[in-house]
Structures are given as structure tokens and as C-alpha cells.
Amino acid sequence: MTSMTSMMSEALFHIENVSLSFGGLKAVVDFQLRMNSGDLHGLIGPNGAGKTTIFNLITGVYQPDEGFIHLAGKPMQGKAPWAIAYAGIARTFQNIRLFPDLSVIDNVRTANHLRKKHTLLHTLLRAPRHLTDEQTMMDRATELLDVIGLLHVKDHLARNLPYGDQRRLEIARALATLPKVLLLDEPAAGMNPSEKKSLITLIQKIREQFDVTILLIDHDMNLVMNLCEHITVLDHGQIIAAGTPQQVQKSDEVIKAYLGEPAGE
């Protein structure tokens, strides 16, 4: 028992035996994951494998049927999405979900709302605490946009940004919640090769500059193999392989899932 608790306290983020079914469909079966502070972990698998479902489980959109999700030893399952963000898990979305009619900087500032220290009453009275807090949020957002490289368009509406910039803005917005764990859902989807290249640089930069642990979903094998030290491969809701990129690449199960059964059997 003592060894178990010590093991649990080692990992920053720990998912154990998480399952979820929709009616008769088993979307996720016995999923497990362990990430230490600073890890960059990849989650791959064919379409419909359950990757995004796992993100939705982590962020409280769905509740697991069984198993637990721990962040720094504290349970996350059963919490509302906003409470999970408050605890330190932020995400981006596969299909971009920005606040389209807000400006770029307002998108980022909104995500910093949960770190505010003033109440509505402070705001209505324009109390000093409101003003200093707003200033802090503004500075933080400006700094973040600078790192992400979107400072020059900070007053543009988010809807008017080109596609690649919208993806970057989603990452900036997630970082503005000051997360411990950052979940990136197909950040390279729909990007051209040069955009992908700059995305890889950006993710590495984020990892260096912010004290953040990253879990990344992507279809692009090259991107994941290049970036991540650890990879978990999912198919039909089940883990079929886990380990370093080299180990995963050699796995027969993975080859089968991606390319189909070898011919002539």
C-alpha cells in the first residue's frame, strides 16, 4: 500500500484503468497513462480509436465509468470542466473552438480569467484590485502572444486569422490558464509542411519556456515521432502499444492497425 502511494506521488499526471462506454459501444477500455513533470507524450491511433474521447474524459466533458484520473495526486474525475481547468489541465480542440468575435488578445485574456484575484464587486466599483488584476492579465496575455508570435495581430478578431494562426492562438489561450498539463488535440491538422515545421519549433519552445507537461494527439506520425519521447498507441479504445518511438514503430500491432493485416495469410 505504501509503495503504491509513493508511486502515485511520483507521477504528475496519472490515469489508471479508465473505461467509458456509450450504450453498448466500448469507447475506451482500461486506458492508462503516466506522465512526469516536463514530459512530452504522444497519443496516436487511427480514426475513431478514442483519442479525443480520452481528452474529453480528462477535461470533464465525459465522466469515466470506472478508473481514476489524478493530477498531482488529486482526483480529477467527477469535476466540472472549469474546475479541471482551474486545477491545471488545459486543452486545445481538434475542430478549432476559439471565441471568434473576440479579439486575439481578448481570447487569451479570457483564459486567464480563472487566475483572477478580484470579485465582481471589485469590477463594478472599479476598485484598485480590479485594475491591478486587469493589468496583470493584460501583461500576461501580451507576453504570451509575443512568445507565440501573434502580438502583431492582437487587436484583430479571432475569426479573421488565417488557419495556422488560429491553431497557434488556441495554444496561446490554453497556456493562459497557466496549466500544469497541456493537452493538444491534433495541433497540426490541416497544416501545410512549413506550418507544421514552425509548429514543431513552437511546441519545443513552449516546453522550454513554460513549466508544462504536454500530451499530444496527432495523425501525423512524423510529427509525433519527432517530438515525443513516449508514445501510446490506441485502437478501438484499447492500448495496443506504448513506449519510445522506436519501440512503437516496431510493434506488429501498430503496423496492423495502421496498414492492415499482412497479405497472404
Binding site: 471565441f99 471568434p100 473576440l102 479570457t110 480569467h113 472599479r126 484583430h156 513549466d211
Partner: protein, 427 residues
């Protein structure tokens, strides 16, 4: 955990400077608002006919209603159409407080206000009287009761979305109207109040016949003082972290939740603030006309909704302009005027502001103007059709500009946007 690097010292200093100047600026608007309200009441109102002064009061009350509803329907993107219900609660609470309070404390229900609430032509030397404080207490009570109703209606229904929330709020508004119609029809006289005593008099709200006899304290000063309060609340809310949380819910509820906005809490907050302000507006309304429950039917809720949609969902300045137009237009149409000078002005403004993009609206406006003038010449008296024309004007507006006057933005954003477009690197 992942706190960013601390601010550089000089940056922290400059932040402090902005804080103090901003605090100074934040006292400016309330003072200007009160000054404008005072000037309107003391110097402008005596020049107006009672009819026009009444219209100015209506516009003020409608501004409060429209701006408060835009907090729910505009900022937060929830579809509430029961605003008249909250207004009714405020109106009857405030009316009963003033009427029965006057009898209890002063022994009569005659007007007993000071300079700030005195109607035109009434001489008074006192500045603020017991009657005024009763009236103010009534309005505040009305706001509080409406806020409580907002909380009670909001908590269970806020998890409903779109059409479903609309139906619930509509139902709430109708329930309030019917309940008020069923209240005992008798407004108690001074003698009866003395016999019955408190709190037995409270349910006597006049029923379907209405609640008259409420002393008319709602002067232009008080109405526009409360307009100032409403605008301050709406403005400070919109341009703050809390307001951005509301806007985020409207923009994308799932993303807002994932970014740490407590959705339910903020929806209820928006609902309660809007209800409180609607209650205040009702309180002012009660001290201006005879209260009749049917005033607070869904027609009233829709009028406010029209103002909000017309102004642009979420735009404070848009709601103000739309409230004025929706109040004035049916009145103007009682004696349909010639519109070509106004339209010409509008076309010139459009041509200057929008240049090439002004061509299509200009053609439409020109056609409308010609059609209107021909109609006036042929039919002669158009006044029987004024509500038809009002509806047509709304339809035209929604076709030309479906996002309302300013969309989610404010009137001054258009000036700023032009600057961004001029400097911006990207289209």
C-alpha cells in the same frame, strides 16, 4: 505553478500610474451622468410639453430595460424573453412600498418630493425629502425583489438552452402578469390601511383594474440617474474579465468551460444583474403611470427584445440608440412626416463612412424614400397604418443589417477598427 517571469520594475511602475488615473477617470462618468440628469430635469424639462417630457421618461426607462436585457441576450448569448416579468415585480414592489409606506409614515399619499423629483411648475424649497427616500427605497426594493426572482427562475432553467430557455422565461413573464391580475382589486384607502395594518395590506395591488394613486416621483432626474447607473454597470461588466467570461460563454460554451469559466455561475450572475436592473426600471415606471398588469404582458418583453436585437446583441450604445428609436418611431408615425431630408443625410454619412460599400444600401434607401413620399402623396393620411409602417421599418432594418446597428461592438469601435484596418498587416 507555471507563473510567468515577474514584471520588470519599470513596467510595474507604469502599471501603478495607469491604476491611479483610471480610478480618477472611473469617477468621471457617474458625475457627468448625474449632471446631465440634473440639467435634463431642471432646465430641459420645463421647455418640453408634458407629452414630450413623458416620451423622454419612456426612453430612459426603455434604455435601462434594453441595456439590462443585452447583458443576458447579448453578452451571454442566452435567449430570455421574460423581461417584462422582472419589470413587473420591480414596479409593484416599488409602487406598494411608496404608496403604503407614505400612508404609514406620513399619513397621506400625496406627492412629497424635493427639487430632484418635483414635476414641472411645482415650487419646492427642500432638496431631498422623506418622500424621495421612500421612492428610492421602493426602487431599490424593486430591484432586489426582481433579482431574487431572477435567481429563483435562473437556477433551475439556466441549464436549458436556446428555444427551451425562451419558453421558460416567457412562461415566467405570463405567470407574473396573471398573478398580478388576480391580486385583490381594491387599493386600500388611508382609513382601510389603518384598520388592516401591516402586512395585511401588501397583497392589495389593484388586480386587473390597476394600481393608481402612486405618487409620481419618477422625474427625468431620477430616471436618467438610474440610466447612468445601468450604463456604468453594463460598461464596467462588458470591459472586464467577468464580462469577457460572459462573452466567452456566448462565443463558445464548450471552450469557455475548458478555459475555466464556471458556466452555470456566470449565466446566473448575468440573469440576476439583468433582473435587478429591470426591477429598477419597473420601479421608475411605477412612479410615472397607473400600473396595469396587462402592460407587463409578453408584448412588453418583445418590445425590449426588439430594442436589443436592433441595437446589436451585446452592444450597449446600440441598445441605447435602438431604445430611443423603438420608443419614438411609433409616436413619430402618428403624424407621418416627410423623410427625404433624413434619408439624404443618412446616405451622405454612409457614403463618407463606407465609400464603395455604400452603393447597395444607398440604392435601397433611395427606393424606400421614393416609395414613402409617393405613398404619402397618394394616400394622404398614413396614421392609421402606423404599426404596419413600424413593423415594415423593423423588417427593412433586419434585411439590411441582420446583426443590428453595431453587432456585438460599440459605436466607438468602428472608429478604432478603421485604424486597425489601416495599420494591420493582414486583411
Amino acid at each position: 505553478m507555471s507563473e510567468q517571469a515577474p514584471l520588470q520594475p519599470d513596467l510595474a511602475n507604469s502599471a501603478n500610474v495607469t491604476v491611479t488615473t483610471a480610478a480618477g477617470r472611473s469617477a468621471l462618468f457617474p458625475l457627468i451622468g448625474l449632471a446631465v440628469a440634473f440639467v435634463l430635469h431642471r432646465f430641459i424639462a420645463p421647455m418640453l410639453s408634458p407629452y414630450h417630457a413623458g416620451l423622454a421618461l419612456d426612453i430612459g426607462v426603455n434604455i435601462i430595460l434594453a441595456v439590462s436585457l443585452t447583458i443576458v441576450n447579448g453578452y451571454t448569448g442566452q435567449f430570455s424573453i421574460g423581461h417584462a416579468g422582472f419589470m413587473a415585480i420591480g414596479a409593484y414592489t416599488a409602487g406598494a412600498t411608496t404608496y403604503y409606506g407614505s400612508i404609514l409614515f406620513m399619513g397621506h399619499y400625496d406627492f412629497a418630493g424635493g427639487i430632484l423629483s418635483a414635476p414641472i411648475g411645482m415650487e419646492t424649497t427642500s432638496f431631498f425629502t422623506g418622500g424621495d427616500s421612500l421612492f428610492l427605497a421602493g426602487c431599490i426594493m424593486g430591484g432586489i425583489m426582481a433579482a431574487l426572482a431572477g435567481l429563483i427562475v435562473g437556477l433551475p432553467s439556466i441549464r436549458l438552452r436556446g428555444d427551451y430557455l425562451a419558453i421558460v422565461t416567457l412562461g415566467f413573464g405570463e405567470i407574473m402578469r396573471v398573478l398580478l391580475e388576480q391580486s385583490p382589486e381594491q387599493i386600500l384607502s388611508i382609513e382601510q390601511v389603518k384598520q388592516t395594518g401591516f402586512p395585511g395590506v401588501v397583497p392589495h395591488l389593484g388586480g386587473a383594474i390597476g394600481f393608481g394613486r402612486i405618487p409620481q416621483y419618477a422625474s427625468l432626474f431620477w430616471v436618467y440617474a438610474f440610466v447612468t447607473l445601468t450604463l456604468i454597470v453594463a460598461y464596467r461588466l462588458k470591459f472586464s474579465s467577468h464580462g469577457r467570461a460572459l462573452l466567452a460563454i456566448r462565443e463558445n460554451e464548450v471552450a469557455a468551460g475548458a478555459m475555466g469559466v464556471p458556466i452555470t455561475r456566470y449565466k446566473v450572475i448575468a440573469f440576476v444583474i439583468a433582473a435587478a436592473l429591470a426591477g429598477l426600471a419597473g420601479g421608475l415606471f411605477a412612479h410615472q403611470v397607473r400600473l396595469i398588469p396587462s402592460t407587463f404582458g409578453f408584448q412588453k418583453s418583445f418590445d425590449v427584445l426588439i430594442m436589443v436585437v436592433l441595437g446589436g446583441l451585446g452592444s450597449i450604445s446600440g441598445s441605447i440608440i435602438a431604445a430611443a428609436i423603438v420608443t419614438l418611431l411609433p409616436e413619430v408615425l402618428r403624424d407621418p412626416p416627410s423623410i427625404w431630408p433624413v434619408m439624404l443625410g443618412l446616405i451622405v454619412v454612409l457614403a463618407i463612412v463606407r465609400r464603395k460599400r455604400a452603393i447597395r444600401p444607398t440604392i435601397i434607401l433611395a427606393l424606400v424614400t421614393i416609395a414613402w413620399e409617393v405613398l404619402r402623396a397618394v394616400v394622404g393620411d398614413l396614421s392609421p397604418y402606423r404599426m404596419v409602417m413600424f413593423a415594415l421599418a423593423l423588417i427593412l432594418m433586419m434585411i439590411l443589417r441582420p446583426q443590428g446597428f453595431f453587432g456585438i461592438h460599440e459605436i466607438w469601435d468602428y472608429w478604432k477598427r478603421k485604424k486597425i484596418a489601416a495599420n494591420g498587416a493582414r486583411p
